[in-house]
Symmetry: C2
Subunit: 233 residues, 2 copies
Amino acid sequence: MVHGTSAGAGTGGATPGPAGPRAPLTRERVLARAVAIADEQGLAALTMRSLAQALDVKPMSLYHHVAGKDAILDGIVDVVFGEMELPEPGGDWRAELARRARSARSVLRRHPWAVPLLESRAVPGPANLRHHEAVLATLRDAGFSVPMTAHAYALLDAFVYGFAVQEAALPFDAGSAPQVAEAIAAQFSSGDFPRMTELAVEHVMQPGYDFGDEFEYGLGVILDALAASLPGD
Amino acid sequence: MVHGTSAGAGTGGATPGPAGPRAPLTRERVLARAVAIADEQGLAALTMRSLAQALDVKPMSLYHHVAGKDAILDGIVDVVFGEMELPEPGGDWRAELARRARSARSVLRRHPWAVPLLESRAVPGPANLRHHEAVLATLRDAGFSVPMTAHAYALLDAFVYGFAVQEAALPFDAGSAPQVAEAIAAQFSSGDFPRMTELAVEHVMQPGYDFGDEFEYGLGVILDALAASLPGD
DNA sequence: CTACCGTGACTTACTAAGTACGGCTGCGCA
DNA sequence: TGCGCAGCCGTACTTAGTAAGTCACGGTAG
């Protein structure tokens, strides 16, 4: 405790002094820090205590701004949704949905801890709702029927989420891919898994391979299929 | 503790008597119970203590069969993979992959807690490896090139996993769908989300709607696209 | 100027969970 | 018969979430 018992923050309350006598601690600040901790040290490192310490505050103070840890998890999921670009309902639906899908993928790649949370948090936040609404509006404005919109929506989101799950499960970042792949390959070099070995050695471990390219392939397949089902096309 | 301090179980050790003086506690038994607990009470209810109690054993005894909680999580993920039907590499690739996809979906629906674990467990278990190998072999035997196999594999699995994420996020089971949907609809009946309301009221809440049907649509789209990319077709 | 009160942060302490460490017991083998 | 080991248990330490009560400050009414 470098700022004294309580006198440090009490001078004005709003003056952001040199040694940073901390801003008044809002829900937004709490969630932003929580996202930062999860990004940097993983979701497991996000505890009420670590979060409080990062905000230069005692754990129980957080409860004045969020209802509890679950509320924080709900909140940071919605922060993540808020970072995704929304499609523009009026324009070129294909381009808009592609842009939105790529943005969602890159956001989920930046926050891989969010992927498992998408599932466990049943109550959607406002950014989540806005996001879904924009996608639905884009599809409907493009001329898709309601049932076809449901199909398209489910398929697109399944792909985006599923791809995020796969990327999050990749044990290596781009730089260390070869070594790790080799280590894994060594595990099943016994010949028990010839097809996996083939794929790894002949393709995935080759220089220039980027798993992210699979995203463009899948996205193209899906958007092509949707376009083909559009009556006016 | 109704069975006394320790005398109850010590009589024979192997005789599965009437009051069930418990089998010798193996890794398999531990994992099976863990799966059962997660199925019945959710992943959060799976603790070393609850697991031990369900096995009529003290917590620390578990550590003689599994390295720790993480090992249990790895283990039950692999149990889940083991429940999925494998595709037959020789046969009709489209039918085999469809069967495998449907099986995977139904398994993940039965064990929704497994979906977030798929992501966080980087080290694949034996059933997982077998599963991937079988899918890859089916694709290669069908005539897909190695790069195309990578595309197909990523797309198929992204869809299956993503669909599982969506299903796991559904806040209701089939029976209670209408009420919950109505409650949610009431939340945004303010008119802020007209497209979501439209979709919910005109389609999802209609009798006979089953989100699972979206799976068949998406699966068909993907398999059609893969078939179209096959040279000999 | 003073009494009052609401807000926000702090202190303490309880409970649940994972697990390290060491002890006890009964069975197989020499 | 005795010895070692596998399997189980008891105790206790550590971390995490959070309930409950307390304190300091600032604004406002009298």
